[in-house]
Amino acid sequence: MAECVVLGKPCFLLAQWLMTGVMVGSIYSLVALGLVLIVKASGIFNFAHGYLMLLGSLFCVTIFQALGEQNLWLALLVTALLMVAVGFLIERAVMRPLLGQPLLTTIMMTLALTQLMQGLITLFWGVSAIPLNIFVYGPGDMDPATGAALTGLPLKPLILESKSWLGGNIIIKQQFVLSFLVSAGLVLLFTLFFRYSRTGLVMRAVAENPRLAQAVGLRVYFTLGLAWAIAALLGAAAGIVQSGGSGVDGNTIPLLALRAFPAVLLGGLESIPGAILGGIIIGVVEVMVTGLVDSTTGQEFAPFLVLILVLLIRPQGLFGQREVERI
């Protein structure tokens, strides 16, 4: 069989990148979901989401280490509680005073929040990467073949046999598979929550018209606070999934959130299915371009080129529900 080659690269590599891209994209979907949630609940685009992600993963790694790297679930639970508190705090202290202010002011406020959080996080944790050993072998895990200790080593890869028809096997880091599953699960959970739970409905009502919602007796402030809390939770989840295995890096996670912005716009700013699909597309584009060109092109250029293309061709995004206010 002739070697299958497309664009100067063997086919199995392209298939490999496609798979990796979907996995990476699932994290973007999770990030995008957190962004869309706040847009839906309060019309604010949260530029500080990346720092919520970072904060969440730092909480998690600190508590996890304090517990001797033994009790992940407890660490996750405490992190979740802390993040809920952070979400309510941000709404109360930072966003509520701006209620009714123009869009510009809220954008500036979330930008100010990025700076404040960056400063605080640097002060408390520094900015060096901290290993977060989630998607790795735990203490006592042995290699069944050799009996060697595997503590801290990455999990065995998942190998899809495709040598016969693509010329090479597709190999996937198990960390990706796990993060994909976690992301997919969370995305599903929150989509259902937003659509079917009473709180979800209230949130939508508040976003639609806060004054009216208040008039009919809905707890507007609590609901907005809850939206921020959920966004903070989602951010923490994305941050933890991202850093599990490779470590919490204060220099990268906020940038990762920026790459999810194109995903949100591609999906249509207020659409949850759009955010999910947008995230996956950005992931695939990023990894394909990284493979074909290199990682700066994949990460610093390609997602933002997609963003420009969206603005040019379809500013309302794939699933944009409202026609964008045209002039």
């Binding site: 685009f45 002011t105 700066t296 250029f301 420009i308 500013p315």
Partner: protein, 361 residues
């Protein structure tokens, strides 16, 4: 009559003495001139933002990238063609303005938020192109299915490490002293300020404000928001380009890592704190933040001693980096909540109160 004239003019005369005469006679400390020059350079770029954000109500997250376009354009022109700085500076402004239009065109048709996104894209795409023009060439090759093979490479832009830039020359003498830098920047600041003032006072300026206050209403009045928004955005990027050229030629070296999103956000913050929509806003905001930075730098060695002692988990070396964003973010937040119209507005209020208390004449 003449006494009144005098009272109108004496502060300006004093300012002239303070800002022009004393520095020209070398009577001010170099350190101060350096600080003033840096304030001036940044203020030019922030004045551009003021036209866009303050008067037209649009947000740009890519101002640093347009500064970068200006810096590189001027540097490359000077290096490759030996063009005089006095010509390459306006050309740099023009280049930045045109690149700005490229990003503004698609997004200015739609809601204001989309311009923020497009300029965010610019903030990433522009440094990427400058760092590795050869990659853009590859992509162009692919997109045109191999019909076009541009041969750009990074020797022109210095790639990841940047370029050394010649100092400006005026009448045969090289302007490489801090004093010369300061006086040049001052001259450009004055021109930029007067130009900004004129733009605001003309029909264009009134149209921009109308768009900011109510785009629909402006349209009904026969103002084409799209055209005016484009003009404002062009001017905004143009100012950035001029600031970039000044920075490149007086810093004498440029690096592709120096024009970050953080710097774009910082400029926005300076404008908001200084007072968006006030002519003096950029000067106020930039001065305040540069001053704060300067103070932070000076107290850092002390902070390095004190902070880890108070908060034992803080590493000595983390103190350096954390205080600047911390104080910047905090200041901006406090202004947004308690004085969203900025320092210029506050000063105006104070002045009004003062005038009300002391009956003049």
């Amino acid at each position: 009559m003449s006494a009144q004239r005098l009272s109108e003019w004496w502060p300006l005369a004093l300012a002239f003495v303070g800002f022009v005469l004393l520095p020209a006679l070398d009577l001010l400390p170099t350190e101060l001139l350096r600080l003033l020059a840096s304030i001036g350079t940044t203020a030019i770029s922030v004045m551009g933002l003021n036209l866009l954000l303050g008067y037209t109500g649009q947000v740009s997250l890519g101002q640093a990238a347009f500064v970068m376009v200006g810096a590189y354009t001027s540097a490359i022109l000077a290096r490759e063609t030996g063009l005089s700085f006095w010509l390459s500076m306006p050309l740099a402004g023009l280049a930045a303005g045109l690149v700005g239009l490229l990003f503004g065109l698609p997004s200015l048709r739609v809601r204001g938020f989309y311009l923020a996104m497009a300029t965010l894209a610019a903030q990433f795409i522009i440094p990427w192109v400058i760092k590795a023009p050869e990659k853009l060439a590859t992509l162009v090759g692919w997109l045109t299915l191999g019909l076009v093979h541009p041969t750009w490479d990074s020797t022109l832009t210095g790639g990841a490490t940047g370029l050394q830039v010649p100092a400006p020359v005026l009448f045969g003498s090289t302007l490489d002293s801090t004093r010369a830098e300061y006086l040049t920047v001052l001259a450009v600041v004055v021109v930029a300020f007067l130009f900004q003032r004129n733009v605001v006072r003309t029909r264009t300026g009134r149209a921009l404000v109308a768009i900011r206050d109510n785009e629909r209403a402006a349209e009904v009045l026969g103002i084409h928001p799209y055209t005016y928004k484009l003009q404002a955005f062009f001017l905004c990027a143009l100012y950035a380009g001029i600031a970039g050229a000044l920075q490149a030629h007086f810093r004498r070296s440029i690096s592709p890592d120096a024009f970050t999103l953080a710097s774009s956000i910082e400029q926005l913050g300076m404008l908001v704190v200084g007072g968006a929509g006030y002519l003096a806003g950029p000067l106020f905001g930039v001065s305040l933040f540069r001053l704060m930075q300067d103070i932070i730098v000076r107290v850092t060695p002390t902070l390095r001693e004190i902070v880890p002692r108070l908060l034992p988990f803080v590493a000595q070396t983390d103190v350096d980096t954390s205080f600047r964003p911390l104080i910047f973010g905090l200041t901006l937040m406090l202004f947004l909540i308690y004085q969203p119209l900025g320092m210029a507005h506050g000063v105006r209020q104070l002045a009004a109160r003062w005038r009300a208390r002391v009956p003049s004449r």
